[in-house]
C-alpha cells in the first residue's frame, strides 16, 4: 500500500526496481490485477511495472463522492512523482483517460502514453444524457446507495456471473480473475470491492470536448490500441478519427477480433503493439 494524496493506493509491482518505470491504470469497476499478464511480460523486458488500484477500487482507499476523476489523476501523478523519474503510462478505458490527464498536466512525468480503448465515452453516450432526468434521480440514488452499501452476492459464482453477463466478450478465465481479485467476503456472501459511491454522480456538464482538450495538451508519444469488434465501447470510425486527430504524436492500431477488453481478449497482439511502440519511441 502506498500513502499518497491523502489516501492509500494498492500498488502491484513487477520487475527490477531500477528498470524504466511504467505505471498502469485500469478502467471503471476494475483493479490493477487486470494487468497481471502484460505487466509480467513487460517486466521480463526489464521494465518496472506498477499497476494501481485507483481510489474507490480494489484495495485502495474509499471515496467521498462519485466519479473523482481529478483526484485519481492527481493520485497517479503523485505516484509517478514519487518514483523520481518520468514513467511510461499504460491505461485501459477510464484509466487511459486519466493518464492522458496526467500527461497533459505534467508533461515532465510522462515518457509516453498507451491507451487501450480509452478515447472517452462515444458521443452517442452524451447525447442520451438528460439533465432533467438525472437531476430528478441523482440525490435519491446517492442517498440510497450510501445507505445500502455494497450488494451482497450469495457466493463467488453468482458474483462472477454478473460480470460475465456484462462483459460478454471477456474470456472466462479473465472474468474469474477480475472477480476473484475484485471481490471479498462480507457476512454470509461476497461483495465487489469497488466503492458503491463510484456508481453515483451529479450532472456536471462533462462532455467529449473535455476529453479532446486533454488530448490536445499531450505532447509525448501516444499509442492507441482499439478493439474493432462490436462491444460496449464501439465507436463510429469517423468519431475515432476525430478524437485521435487531437493527439499530435500518435500511433493507432485496431485489433479487429477484440472488443473493449482487447488486452484480455488478444493479449499477444496488444503486447506486440506495446513492445514495438516502446522500442520505437525509446530507441
Amino acid at each position: 500500500m502506498l500513502e499518497v494524496n491523502r489516501t492509500e493506493l494498492r500498488v502491484w509491482d513487477w520487475g527490477p526496481e531500477d528498470g524504466p518505470p511504467i505505471v498502469c491504470a485500469h478502467g471503471a469497476y476494475d483493479h490493477g490485477r487486470m494487468f497481471d499478464e502484460i505487466a509480467a511480460a513487460l517486466a521480463r523486458d526489464g521494465h518496472r511495472v506498477l499497476a494501481l488500484d485507483l481510489r474507490g477500487h480494489g484495495d485502495s482507499g474509499p471515496l467521498s463522492t462519485g466519479h473523482t476523476f481529478e483526484a485519481s489523476v492527481l493520485d497517479v501523478a503523485a505516484v509517478v512523482k514519487s518514483l523520481g523519474r518520468p514513467a511510461g503510462l499504460l491505461g485501459h478505458s477510464m484509466g487511459a483517460g486519466m493518464l492522458f490527464g496526467v500527461a497533459a498536466t505534467w508533461p515532465e512525468l510522462a515518457r509516453w502514453v498507451v491507451s487501450f480503448d480509452g478515447l472517452g465515452p462515444p458521443s452517442s453516450g452524451f447525447g442520451e444524457f438528460s439533465l432533467e432526468a438525472t437531476a430528478a434521480q441523482a440525490f435519491a440514488d446517492i442517498a440510497k446507495r450510501s445507505a445500502r452499501g455494497r450488494r451482497v452476492f450469495p457466493d463467488f459464482a453468482t458474483l462472477a456471473a454478473q460480470r460475465g453477463d456484462i462483459n460478454t466478450r471477456m474470456p472466462r478465465r479473465w472474468v474469474e480473475h477480475l472477480a476473484r481479485h475484485g471481490s471479498r467476503p462480507e457476512g454470509d456472501g461476497v461483495v465487489w470491492k469497488w466503492d458503491p459511491l463510484f456508481n453515483t454522480f451529479l450532472p456536471d456538464g462533462f462532455t467529449w470536448e473535455w476529453v479532446t482538450s486533454d488530448f490536445a495538451a499531450v505532447t509525448c508519444p501516444v499509442l492507441v490500441v482499439r478493439g474493432g469488434a462490436e462491444d460496449m465501447w464501439t465507436f463510429p470510425e469517423a468519431e475515432v478519427a476525430d478524437r485521435v486527430s487531437h493527439l499530435r504524436d500518435l500511433e493507432l492500431h485496431t485489433i479487429d477480433d477484440a472488443g473493449h477488453y482487447l488486452h484480455l481478449e488478444q493479449p499477444d497482439q496488444a503486447l506486440g503493439h506495446v513492445r514495438a511502440f516502446i522500442q520505437r519511441v525509446e530507441s
Partner: protein, 213 residues
C-alpha cells in the same frame, strides 16, 4: 415562514455558521446551513479531496435523512450554486437563490481545462496541501479548489429547466450573465450587489418577503 437551507461555497473555510448568522441578522428566521466536509467544524472529506459535488452529496444525505425541501428555499453560494440548480432542476425545492452561483466566469472548454491543469500542477507541488491536514486552522488544500463550472451553455440549459421562483445575486450582471438569467423557466429576480454575506443575506430576506414560494 419559509425555511432556508443554505449550501456555502466550496473553499470557504468558515462553513455554514457565518452564513446562518448573516441570514438571521437579515431577518430570516428558519435557516439550516450545514458545513461542507472539511469546512467549519465538519470532518474532512474521505480521501481528502474537495470537489463541487461535495455539496450535492451532503444534500443527498440530508434528503435521505428526511429533510423536505419542497416548501423551502435552497440557497447555493458559489460552487454550491450549481448543486442548488441541479436540485431545482430535479424538482426538489420550492425556490432557489443563487449567490454568485450561476457558474461564472464563463470560459471556453479549453480555457477551463487549461486552468484546471495549472491549478492541479500547483497543488501537486505544494507538499502541505498534498499531505493529510491535521489542523489547526484551515486546510491549505482549500486554496486549490477549482473555479466554478464556467460553462455558459450548461448554465442556460439548466436554467431553462428551473421552474420554481429564483433569486440571482451576482456582483456583475454583464450581458452573458443576463443571458443566463433570462433563460430561467420560472419567475426570476435579479440583484446586482456585492456578494458579501450581509449584503447577500439582505437580498435573500427581501426576496423571501415577496417571492411566491
Amino acid at each position: 415562514m419559509t425555511r432556508v437551507v443554505l449550501l456555502h461555497d466550496l473553499g470557504d473555510p468558515g462553513g455554514g455558521a457565518p452564513w446562518a448568522e448573516a441570514m438571521t441578522a437579515a431577518g430570516v428566521v428558519d435557516v439550516v446551513a450545514p458545513d461542507l466536509p472539511g469546512h467549519g467544524s465538519a470532518d474532512p472529506p474521505v480521501g481528502g479531496n474537495y470537489v463541487r459535488a461535495d455539496a450535492g452529496y451532503l444534500l443527498a444525505g440530508l434528503l435521505g435523512d428526511g429533510l423536505v425541501l419542497k416548501d423551502a428555499v435552497l440557497v447555493g453560494v458559489g460552487h454550491s450554486g450549481w448543486v442548488a440548480t441541479v436540485a431545482a432542476v430535479g424538482g426538489h425545492v420550492g425556490g432557489v437563490a443563487l449567490i454568485a452561483g450561476l457558474g461564472r466566469p464563463w470560459r471556453s472548454v479549453d480555457d477551463r481545462l487549461a486552468r484546471r491543469r495549472r491549478r492541479t500542477r500547483e497543488l501537486l507541488a505544494d507538499d502541505a496541501a498534498m499531505a493529510v491536514h491535521e489542523g489547526p486552522g484551515a486546510d491549505p488544500r482549500l486554496r486549490y479548489v477549482l473555479e466554478p463550472h464556467g460553462d455558459q451553455a450548461l448554465a442556460i440549459e439548466a436554467a431553462a429547466l428551473v421552474t420554481v421562483p429564483t433569486l440571482v445575486v451576482e456582483p456583475d450582471l454583464d450581458a452573458a450573465t443576463l443571458e443566463v438569467a433570462a433563460a430561467f423557466g420560472g419567475p426570476v429576480t435579479l440583484a446586482e450587489t456585492d456578494t458579501e454575506r450581509s449584503s447577500a443575506a439582505r437580498e435573500v430576506a427581501a426576496w423571501l418577503a415577496t417571492a411566491p414560494i
